[in-house]
Symmetry: C2
Subunit: 261 residues, 2 copies
């Protein structure tokens, strides 16, 4: 099967134009088929401040109320997505930007739980793998903004890590899928204070052991649990590390490569 890389970048790259340019050049250089998923970054907060729209917080989390949804749709699907696409086009990567509403590509429902206000946050139900496959096979590189829809005229703010994971899983019948999470740290660390303590390869057996003996930083556990779930659903490998070294990350020379066995 042909290789497909599903690569997620977070705010630390989005917010730094020179880091973003260097990342996008390396991304464009990947010869395999690929999908980019981007998060939000600080611009949405800045635009909300400039527009005088107060941010609602609940238990330390920002709530996507109606006004915030409007802003994240403008900033994520408009500003960030189209700037990333235009920059990729300029380095000869035929990118096209999407939300989950476009081509009905990612359907979600509004997160609801009695007594808790999550605002317009979406949990993913279904990925339209057929259409995404058509795009990829027509040599388009899809670039997803972290916005999905419920099919009933409601856009929903959706976690970019989850979008990357659901895209990766949905495309495993057609490609040998590598899921790459670019984040601030050099990889999965045994010592969170020491960037050189990167675990190069992490397999499920070792992970369970390290988790039991608390040798893994607690903050990484949800990410790693998700990674192993993706692997159990047919994703070939999950790579976690610094996006600015994307070429080294893809080739296994930096970051942590996570394998099922």
């Amino acid at each position: 099967m042909e290789s497909l890389y599903v690569i997620k970048i977070g705010g630390n790259i989005i917010d730094d134009p020179s880091l973003l340019t260097s990342f996008l050049q390396k991304f464009a250089g990947i010869k395999s088929k690929k999908i980019l998923v981007h998060g939000g970054g600080k611009l949405a907060t800045r635009v909300a401040d400039q527009m005088g729209i107060p941010q609602t917080m609940s238990e330390g989390r920002r709530i996507t109320d109606a006004e915030t949804l409007k802003i994240v749709t403008m900033v994520y699907a408009g500003y960030i997505n189209k700037h990333v696409v235009a920059e990729l086009q300029s380095v000869h990567c035929n990118a096209a930007g999407f939300t989950g509403a476009d081509g009905n590509s990612i359907l979600s429902h509004k997160r609801e739980k009695a007594g808790i206000d999550f605002g317009f946050a979406g949990d993913i139900d279904r990925v339209n793998a057929d259409w995404i496959r058509q795009l990829i096979d027509n040599n388009i590189t899809p670039v997803f903004a972290p916005i999905t829809h419920n099919g009933m005229n409601q856009l929903l703010n959706t976690n970019a890590d989850t979008i990357a994971q659901e895209l990766a899983k949905a495309l495993t019948p057609f490609y040998k899928v590598s899921l790459v999470y670019s984040f601030e740290k050099a990889g999965v660390l045994t010592d969170v204070e020491n960037e050189t303590s990167v675990i190069r390869v992490l397999r499920f057996g070792e992970y369970k052991e390290m988790k039991n003996s608390r040798k893994i930083f607690a903050g990484m556990i949800p990410k790693l649990d998700n990674a192993f779930t993706a692997l159990s659903k047919g994703v070939y490998q999950v790579i976690i590390g610094q996006g600015q070294n994307l070429d080294l990350l893809i080739s296994g020379k930096s970051g942590t490569t996570i394998l099922y066995e």
Copy 2:
């Protein structure tokens, strides 16, 4: 050849949610293949005001300076485009939203003329008809925001009427293309004060005569000249009239149908 409708809606529909809903329902009901092109509307001005960004005017025209380009990218390609797509999806029209940067679909260059500052305004050079055709033939309904790019990492604010016309012309080798301009008036009027004075069918010979004898409202002449240019390049018909009556417009029961001969 199969029919294709390229339909442009302007600010009067974009700015009125109930008008927009009724328009989109009628648009979704068109059985033929179709493309929607939308303009801007007043939201960009409102967002600029809210963000405290002054609008630069030159000879009565708003100039797209760098800050304004940022806002129109957010509002046109983000907010408006994704809301239109989500609403079309909810009425079972498989829409996907694009700027000219997406899939390199519309290439333009920055308008330059010695001594005149046009800001980041784009004049179209080329439409990537192959990709748009692939989308349409995969039963996608493309929805274009009035933003294009120059291929060198510069997004450009671009007139929506022109985008519609260039798309229509570029797709004539593959479809029998109807170009529909939805605007405020009931159609081309012989008396601008009288909405019942709609010219039902306008052919080039009659138009030349009416233009010479000044029987056509001067404000319509650029639009009509463009319409006849499109027809001379192979577009089958141009229809001008009120978008809220899209079904009547498409069937020739309202508005003005413009034909070459």
